[in-house]
Amino acid sequence: MSLAIQTEKLTKTYGRKARGIEDVDLAVEEGEVFGFLGPNGAGKTTTVRTLLGFLRPTGGRGEVFGLDIRRDSVEIRARVGNLPGEFALEDKMTGEGLLAYFARLRGVKDLGYARELSERLGAELHRPMRRLSRGNKQKIGLVQAMFHRPPLLMLDEPTGGLDPLVQEEFLDIIEEVRAEGRTVFFSSHNLAEVERVCDRVGIIRGGRLAAVETTETLIDKSFRHVVLTFAEDVDKEQFEALSGVRDLEGDGKRISFTLDDGLDEMVKLAAGHTLVNMEYERPSLEEVFLTYYERENGEGR
C-alpha cells in the first residue's frame, strides 16, 4: 500500500526556548484513519503546519503523496482538506461566501457535496461569522475542509465545540471517507472517538513520536485491570510480590490490581486458591495515553 504521509527525522525548532518537533518518523498509509494524540504543546499542530508548508522544517524530510513538503506545498494543499486547530474566519463573511470563494480557489464548480455536508452537520451558511457560536464556526470549518473530497483530510481537534449528535454525524462521515479509500489524519483530545474510528494512532510527547500502533495493538500491548474474588481469605502480599503487579488494593477475599505483564505467573498463583470470580479488563485508550504521559513525567523527574 502506498503512503499518504511519510516523514524521516522531520524536525522543526523555534529557537532555544520554544519546543517544536524532533526526528519525527511517520508513515500514514493511504486509506487509513490515523489518530495523532498528544496534549497541547506536544507538537501536533507543528507537525501538521510543517507538512502543509506553513512552516519550514529545520531538519529531516517529509512527503505527502510522494510530493516534497518543501518544494511542492501548493500541490500538496491541492490534495488536502485542512481544518486548523484554531479555526478562525473573517467576521464579515458568511459560510456560503467562504465556500464559494474556496471553490473558486480550488476550481470546484459544484457545491452539491458542500450543501449535503452542511445539511448533515447543521451548519448555518447564511449568517456572518461574527454571529456564529464556536460550534457553528467549527461546522463550517469541517465543511470547508471536506467539500472538495480531498484524498487526505488533516483535521486538528475536529469535534471541539460540537454537540454529541453532531459529533456522531461527523464520525459517520469519517467512516464514509475511509470507505471511499481516502485518508484521514486527525488529532483529538477525545480519545473515545479516536478509539472508535482510528485504524492506527501515533502518540507524540515533547515533540517526539513516542509510539505508533494500531489502536487494538496499543491497547492489547498495554496493562490490564484485574479483579480476583476468592472463596477464602488470601495473602495479598503474594500477589504484590509479582513483578508485573502494581496498584494492588483490597484484602481478604477480593483484591484488585493493575497487571503490566506476567499473566501466566499471576494465573498460576491465583489457581492455587479457590477462585470464585476473575475480571480481566482492557484499559481505555485514554488510560493508555495517560500512562505514556505519566512515564514521561517519571522520566522528567
Partner: protein, 275 residues
C-alpha cells in the same frame, strides 16, 4: 450525489493557471467595497465642500491674496499657496496637497491586515490551506488594494467635479482626473511599505506604525524643506517632493512611474520575504 469538475490525479483540485490569483483579487476587492464607499464618500464630500466654499471666496480673492502676502513667504510655499483666486490652486492647498496624509491610511491598514493582521486573527492558515502560492497572497492583496484605491480616487474625483459643475466653479474634468490619479502612486507606496513590514515583522501594529511614521516624516521634511534652506537639500528623499500639484501642472509621468516602480519593488520584496 454531487459531481465534481476539474478533478485531476489523486483527487487534486486546482483552479485554472492564474485562477487562484484572480479569485483572490476579486474576492478581496469585493470585501473592500464598504471601505471604498466610506473613504471615497468622506474624502469626496470634504473635497466637494471645498469646491463649494470656493464660490464664497471667489469674489474676494484679490483681498485674500493681499492678506496672504502678509504671511511669511516660506509658509505659503510650504502649503503650495500661490493664487487663491484660481480654483485649482485653492483645491491643491486645501485638499490635494494634504489628501495623501489621510488617504495613505487606506492601503496602509488594508495591507498591514493582509498578512500580519490575518496571522494575528488566525485566519491565514484557513486561506493558505487552499492551493494558493504564498507569493500570490502578497501580490493578490497588493493588486486588490491598488484597484480599491483607484475606486476611491474615482469617487473623490466624481464628487469634486460634480460639485464644480453644480456650483459653476471652473474646473475641467482633466484637472480633477489628474489631481485624484496623482494621489494613487504616493498612497500605494506607503501601502507597499506596510505590506513589506507585515511580511517581515508579522505584527500588525508595527506594519501600521512604520509606514505611518515614514508618511508624516516625509511630509514634514518636504513641507519644512520648502520653507527652510537648512532642510531644502533633504527634500528629494521625501516622496512628497515628487508629488507636486497635478491639478495645476498635470501629472509628471516620470515621477508617477518612478513612485509606482518603488511600490512594486517593495511588494516584490514582501513576496520574497513571505515566500
Amino acid at each position: 450525489m454531487s459531481v465534481v469538475l476539474n478533478r485531476g490525479e489523486k483527487g487534486r483540485h486546482t483552479a485554472r493557471p492564474g485562477g487562484t490569483l484572480f479569485a483572490l483579487v476579486s474576492h478581496t476587492v469585493r470585501m473592500q467595497l464598504r471601505g471604498v464607499i466610506i473613504w471615497g464618500a468622506a474624502l469626496g464630500l470634504y473635497s466637494a465642500g471645498m469646491v463649494a466654499s470656493f464660490t464664497a471666496i471667489e469674489g474676494s480673492a484679490d483681498q485674500l491674496n493681499q492678506l496672504m502676502e502678509a504671511y511669511p513667504k516660506g509658509m505659503l510655499e510650504a502649503f503650495g499657496v500661490t493664487d487663491l483666486g484660481d480654483p485649482a490652486n485653492y483645491l491643491h492647498s486645501q485638499v490635494f496637497g494634504l489628501a495623501p496624509l489621510a488617504l495613505s491610511f487606506f492601503p496602509i491598514l488594508a495591507l498591514a491586515n493582509a498578512i500580519a493582521g490575518a496571522e494575528e486573527r488566525g485566519t491565514i492558515d484557513v486561506l493558505l490551506g487552499n492551493p494558493l502560492p504564498r507569493w500570490q497572497l502578497v501580490a493578490g492583496n497588493f493588486i486588490a488594494v491598488s484597484i480599491s484605491l483607484l475606486e476611491i480616487c474615482a469617487v473623490v474625483g466624481l464628487l469634486t467635479w460634480g460639485t464644480a459643475v453644480l456650483t459653476g466653479v471652473e474646473l475641467s474634468p482633466r484637472e480633477v482626473a489628474d489631481a485624484v490619479l496623482n494621489l494613487w502612486p504616493t498612497c500605494i507606496m506607503f501601502g507597499a511599505v506596510a505590506l513589506l513590514c507585515s511580511a517581515l515583522f508579522h505584527r500588525r501594529g508595527l506594519a501600521i506604525a512604520v509606514p505611518a511614521f515614514l508618511l508624516f516624516g516625509m511630509y514634514l521634511i518636504d513641507t519644512i524643506g520648502r520653507a527652510s534652506n537648512d532642510l531644502e537639500d533633504w527634500r528629494p528623499v521625501s516622496v512628497f517632493y515628487y508629488y507636486g500639484s497635478a491639478i495645476e501642472n498635470g501629472i509628471d509621468w516620470t515621477h508617477f512611474g518612478s513612485i509606482t516602480l518603488i511600490a512594486l519593488g517593495l511588494s516584490f520584496l514582501a513576496a520574497l520575504v513571505f515566500r
